[in-house]
C-alpha cells in the first residue's frame, strides 16, 4: 500500500522554523512506524534524524507524536493508525527540538533525578542474604518499574504544556517506585520533594499519561496513591 509520512523537519544550521516534508513510499500494514522512518532514511533521505535503539519497545528511545498521539515508533504498526491520510510524525511536544525528531531531554532527566531515584536504606545488611520482601509487596513495584523513561507521558500532560516547571508524571511514577518499596527508608524525603505547587498537586487527573504510556502503566493510579499517602501522613 502507498503511504505518505508528513514529517516535521528542522535543521538548526539552515532552518529558522521547523516545517513539514512529505515522503511517499510503498509500505505494508505490519511495518512499524520506525521501519517506515528507516525506509525513508535509508532509501530517500539520509539526513533525517531520529533516535532509536532496541526497536521493540524496551529502550524508550523513539517516543514520537504520531498522528497527534504520543507513542513509540517501534511499537506502532501501520495497521494501528490511519494511513488513508498523510501520517503526521512530530517530535514529542513541550521539549526543545535539536534536529528533526530529536529533542533536548535534559529537563526531563533532571526532573527524574530530583525525586532521588535510587533505594535509600541505611540499615546495615549482611552480605550473604537478601532483604526479605513478600511477593505481593514486590509486585506492587513491578508496574511502576516497567517505566522506560520515553517521556510519552510527561509530554502528553496539559499541566506540562502550560507550566514547564511541573515535575511531570514520569518523575512522579519513579517517586512511587521508591516510596512504596518496603525496603526504602526515605519515603518522607521524597514526599517532601513532590509536595509542592509544581510537584504532584499540578496533576489534575486528566489521564492523558495513561493513554500515552506505551508500557500500559496506569500512571494516574500510581500518582493517586502518592496523593493518598501525602494526605494521610502525619504532619
Amino acid at each position: 500500500m502507498q503511504v505518505t509520512f508528513r514529517i516535521l523537519r528542522f535543521n538548526p544550521e539552515v532552518d529558522k522554523e521547523p516545517h513539514f516534508e512529505d515522503y511517499r513510499f510503498e509500505g505494508h500494514e505490519n511495518m512499524t512506524v520506525l521501519d517506515c522512518l528507516h525506509k525513508i532514511k535509508w532509501e530517500h533521505d539520509g539526513s533525517l534524524a531520529f533516535r532509536r535503539s532496541c526497536a521493540h519497545g524496551v529502550c524508550g528511545s523513539d517516543g514520537l507524536r504520531i498522528n497527534g498521539r504520543n507513542h513509540l515508533a517501534c511499537s506502532t504498526l501501520l495497521k494501528d493508525i490511519n494511513t488513508k491520510k498523510p501520517v503526521v510524525i512530530e517530535p514529542l511536544p513541550a521539549m526543545p527540538i535539536i534536529k528533526d525528531l530529536i529533542l533536548d531531554m535534559t529537563d526531563f532527566y533532571e526532573k527524574y533525578k530530583a525525586v532521588k531515584p535510587y533505594l535509600i536504606n541505611n540499615t546495615p545488611v549482611t552480605e550473604d542474604s537478601e532483604r526479605l520482601q513478600s511477593n505481593a509487596d514486590a509486585e506492587k513495584l513491578f508496574e511502576s518499574a516497567k517505566c522506560i523513561l520515553c517521556a510519552c507521558c510527561t509530554t502528553s500532560c496539559p499541566s506540562t504544556w502550560t507550566n514547564n516547571n511541573y515535575i511531570g508524571p514520569a518523575a512522579l511514577l519513579k517517586a512511587y517506585r521508591f516510596v512504596f518499596d518496603t525496603r526504602d527508608e526515605a519515603a518522607d524525603e521524597r514526599l517532601d520533594i513532590i509536595d509542592t505547587p509544581d510537584g504532584i498537586w499540578r496533576c489534575h487527573t486528566v489521564f492523558n499519561c495513561i493513554e500515552a504510556c506505551p508500557k500500559e502503566i496506569n500512571i494516574t493510579w500510581h500518582i493517586s496513591q502518592l496523593k493518598k499517602e501525602l494526605s494521610t501522613r502525619e504532619l
Binding site: 539526513s47 533505594l119 532483604r131 518499574a145
Partner: protein, 585 residues
C-alpha cells in the same frame, strides 16, 4: 576539547555501570555512551540472572560451574568460570541491596526459575545419576535486564557518576603498549573530544547487527571490538557467535528461554515436541546452540511451518501454561507476540526462528578484565574490558542463558576493583601525536563521500551473507565465498555517499562509521570460522561435524598484521577440575 579523568569507561550497559559504581569517590570517572544509559542493550535481557542461591531448591556453585563449562563445550577458561559462579550469589544479593526489584518466593527470598543448560544431579549422593533442570535463574518477571539496568543507573546517580551521553567512540590511543586515552564525537555537535585517562575500560557490547535476523539493538555494531582490532590488538574466539533459538519469526525479537523455563514447548509442523529427540533428558531446556541446530534441522527435514513470505518457522507452544502464568511470569514477551505478529499466545503458538544474539568472543582479558596484547598473556597497560565486548572467557564456545547478566555484574565489579588498585600508582601519559587527528580524518573523509553506494544496501547485503554463509551451519565453501563477499563489501564501502553533511546529530555519518565497524567484525568472525576445522558449541562445521579436542581445544586470537591481513594464533584453554566429556543432555 580535551578532558582528563582518572578512569574513562566506554559503554553504559550493565558492565560499564557496575564498574563505574565501584570506582572510589576520590578518583575522577567518566562514562561515555552512544545512547542515554538506560537505552543500553542490557535492558532487553528478559529471563533472569543465575546464581546458586538455593532459594527454591538445593543447589551449589560447583553445579553452576560444571554446567557453564559443559555449556561452553569445554572451551571456557575454568578458573574464570569458577570465580564467576562462586561469586554469583554475592553479586545477586548485592543487586538486591542496591534496590533491584525481584520476584519473590513464599518466604520473601529472591525467586528462581529453570533455564536452558542449568542442571543438578537428580540424586546428589550418586554422581552417576542423571542431571535434571534446576531453578537457578533469579528473575523479575521477564524484565530482569530492564530492572537491573535501571538499578545500576540509579546507583550511578546516587554516586554522582559523570556521564557523556550520545558521545560516539572513534579512536583508542595506544602508544608503546600503554593505553593513554580515546577520542569520541559529541553527536549533538560533531565536536571531537579527547579523553586522556590513566585507565580505560571498554564495556561496548556486542555486534549482533552483523547478522540479518538479530535480537540485538540497532546500536549493537561492535564499535569497541572493531577499534581494538584496528589498533593491532587481538580479538579472541570470534568464530563463536550464539544464535538464540527463539526469536520472533522474521523479526528476530527475543522470546526469552523463560518461556520454556515456565514450560513452553517447541513443536514442528506435525505438532511434535521434537526436542525430545535431540536432548532426551532436558528436552526444551537444552543449551541454546543445540536447540538452534535442532530447529534448523527440523526445518531442513521439511518439518518447518511455511510462513506467508515463503520462509519457514517453528512453533513455540505456550497455550497449556494458562493465562495466569503467561500474564504474571512472561507478560513482556507474550506482549511482543501480540504486538508484532498479531498472535494471542494463550490461544495459539508463537512462530519463532533462531536469531543472532550474543558474541562469546571479543577483546581478550584475564579474570580481572585486564586486556591481553597477544596470546602469550602480555597485558596492555591501563586498558580493561568487560561484558559482551570482552572474552574472559567464561562462555567458551556457547553461553548458557542468564550467564550474560551474571558476567556483567561479576566482571564489571572486578574490573572496577582492579582499576581502583591500579590508580594508586598510575599516571597520565602524554600523547606523542595529535590524538584527534585520526578522528578528524575519519570524519572529513566520510563527509566528503558522494559515491553511489548506499550505506543501508551494503549493510543489508553483509547481514544477509553472514546469515546465509556464516550462521548456524557453516562449511568451507560458504565461508570462502563469504570471505570474498566481505572483501567486495569493503570495496563498495569506499564508494558510499553521505547525504547528510551537517554537524548536528548527523546520524548518517554515525551509521557510516558503524558500518565500517561491522565490516571489520564480520571479516574477523568469518576468518576464524574458516580457520577452525571442528564443530564446537555455537560453531558448527558441516565438513567437520565432530569436536576435535586433540587439535582444537584452544582459543583463537586474530590480529591484523602490518599489511592489514588477518593472522591467527592460539592460547591454551585453562582447566581446573572439569574433564572434557561428550556433551549430551
Amino acid at each position: 576539547m580535551i578532558h582528563k579523568f582518572d578512569v574513562v569507561i566506554v559503554g553504559a550497559g550493565g558492565a560499564g555501570l557496575r564498574a563505574a559504581v565501584e570506582i572510589p569517590k576520590g578518583s575522577s570517572c567518566a562514562v561515555i555512551s552512544k545512547v542515554f544509559p538506560t537505552r543500553s542493550h542490557t535492558g532487553t535481557a528478559q529471563g533472569g540472572v543465575c546464581a546458586a542461591l538455593s532459594n527454591e531448591e538445593e543447589d551449589s556453585w560447583l553445579d553452576h560451574a560444571f554446567d557453564t563449562v559443559k555449556g561452553s563445550d569445554y572451551l571456557g577458561d575454568q578458573d574464570a568460570i569458577e570465580i564467576m559462579c562462586q561469586d554469583a550469589p554475592r553479586a545477586i544479593i548485592e543487586l538486591e541491596h542496591m534496590g533491584m526489584p525481584f520476584s519473590r518466593t513464599k518466604e520473601g527470598k529472591i525467586a528462581q526459575r529453570k533455564f536452558g543448560g542449568h542442571t543438578k544431579l537428580e540424586n546428589p549422593k550418586d554422581p552417576n545419576s542423571k542431571r535434571i533442570p534446576v531453578n537457578r535463574a533469579c528473575y523479575s518477571a521477564d524484565r530482569t535486564g530492564h530492572v537491573m539496568l535501571q538499578t545500576l543507573y540509579e546507583n550511578c546517580i546516587k554516586n554522582n557518576v559523570k556521564f557523556y551521553s550520545e558521545y560516539f567512540l572513534t579512536d583508542l590511543i595506544i602508544e608503546d603498549g600503554i593505553c593513554k586515552g580515546l577520542t569520541a564525537i559529541d553527536m549533538a555537535t560533531s565536536e571531537i573530544h579527547t579523553f586522556q585517562a590513566k585507565a580505560i575500560m571498554f564495556a561496548t557490547g556486542g555486534y549482533g547487527r552483523a547478522f540479518r535476523i538479530t535480537s540485538n539493538a540497532h546500536v549493537g555494531t561492535g564499535d569497541g571490538c572493531s577499534l581494538v582490532y584496528n589498533a593491532g590488538l587481538p580479538l579472541e574466539d570470534m568464530e563463536f557467535y550464539q544464535f538464540h533459538p527463539t526469536g520472533l519469526w522474521r523479526l528476530g525479537i527475543l522470546v526469552s528461554e523463560a518461556a520454556r523455563g515456565e514450560g513452553g514447548i517447541l513443536r514442528n509442523n506435525n505438532n511434535e515436541p521434537f526436542m525430545e529427540v535431540y536432548a532426551p533428558t532436558v528436552k526444551d531446556l537444552a543449551p541454546r546452540d543445540m536447540v538452534s541446530r535442532a530447529i534448523i534441522s527440523e526445518i531442513r527435514a521439511g518439518r518447518g511451518i511455511l510462513g506467508s513470505d515463503g520462509t519457514y518457522y517453528i512453533n513455540l507452544d505456550l497455550t497449556h501454561l494458562g493465562k495466569k502464568v503467561i500474564d504474571e511470569k512472561i507478560p513482556e514477551i507474550t506482549g511482543f507476540a501480540r504486538t508484532y505478529l498479531g498472535v494471542e499466545p494463550t490461544k495459539e503458538s508463537v512462530p519463532i526462528q533462531p536469531t543472532a544474539h550474543y558474541a562469546m568472543g571479543g577483546i581478550p582479558t584475564n579474570y580481572d578484565t585486564e586486556v591481553f596484547a597477544d596470546s602469550n598473556g602480555t597485558k596492555v597497560q591501563g586498558f580493561y574490558a568487560a561484558g559482551e565486548c570482552a572474552c574472559v572467557s567464561v562462555h567458551g564456545a556457547n553461553r548458557l542463558g542468564t550467564n550474560s547478566l551474571l558476567d556483567i555484574v561479576v566482571f564489571g565489579r572486578r574490573g572496577g576493583k582492579k582499576i581502583s588498585q591500579f590508580l594508586e600508582t598510575a599516571e597520565y601519559h602524554d600523547f606523542k601525536t595529535d590524538p584527534a587527528e585520526k578522528t578528524r580524518a575519519l570524519m572529513s573523509g566520510l563527509l566528503a563521500k558522494n559515491g553511489n553506494e548506499k550505506i543501508s544496501e551494503i549493510r543489508k547485503d553483509l547481514q544477509q551473507s553472514m546469515m546465509d554463509k556464516c550462521g548456524i551451519f557453516r562449511n568451507e565453501k560458504d565461508l570462502a565465498e563469504n570471505k570474498e563477499l566481505i572483501k567486495q563489501y569493503k570495496e563498495r564501502y569506499q564508494n558510499i555517499g553521505l547525504q547528510d553533511k551537517s554537524k548536528v546529530f548527523n546520524t548518517d555519518l554515525i551509521e557510516a562509521i558503524e558500518l565500517g565497524n561491522l565490516l571489520n567484525i564480520a571479516g574477523s568472525i568469518n576468518e576464524c570460522a574458516l580457520n577452525r576445522q571442528e564443530s564446537r558449541g555455537a560453531h558448527t562445521r558441516e565438513d567437520f561435524p565432530k569436536r576435535d579436542d586433540s587439535n582444537w581445544m584452544k582459543h583463537s586470537f586474530i590480529t591484523k598484521n602490518d599489511s592489514g591481513d588477518p593472522k591467527i594464533s592460539y592460547k591454551t584453554v585453562i582447566k581446573t577440575r572439569f574433564e572434557p566429556m561428550e556433551r549430551k543432555y
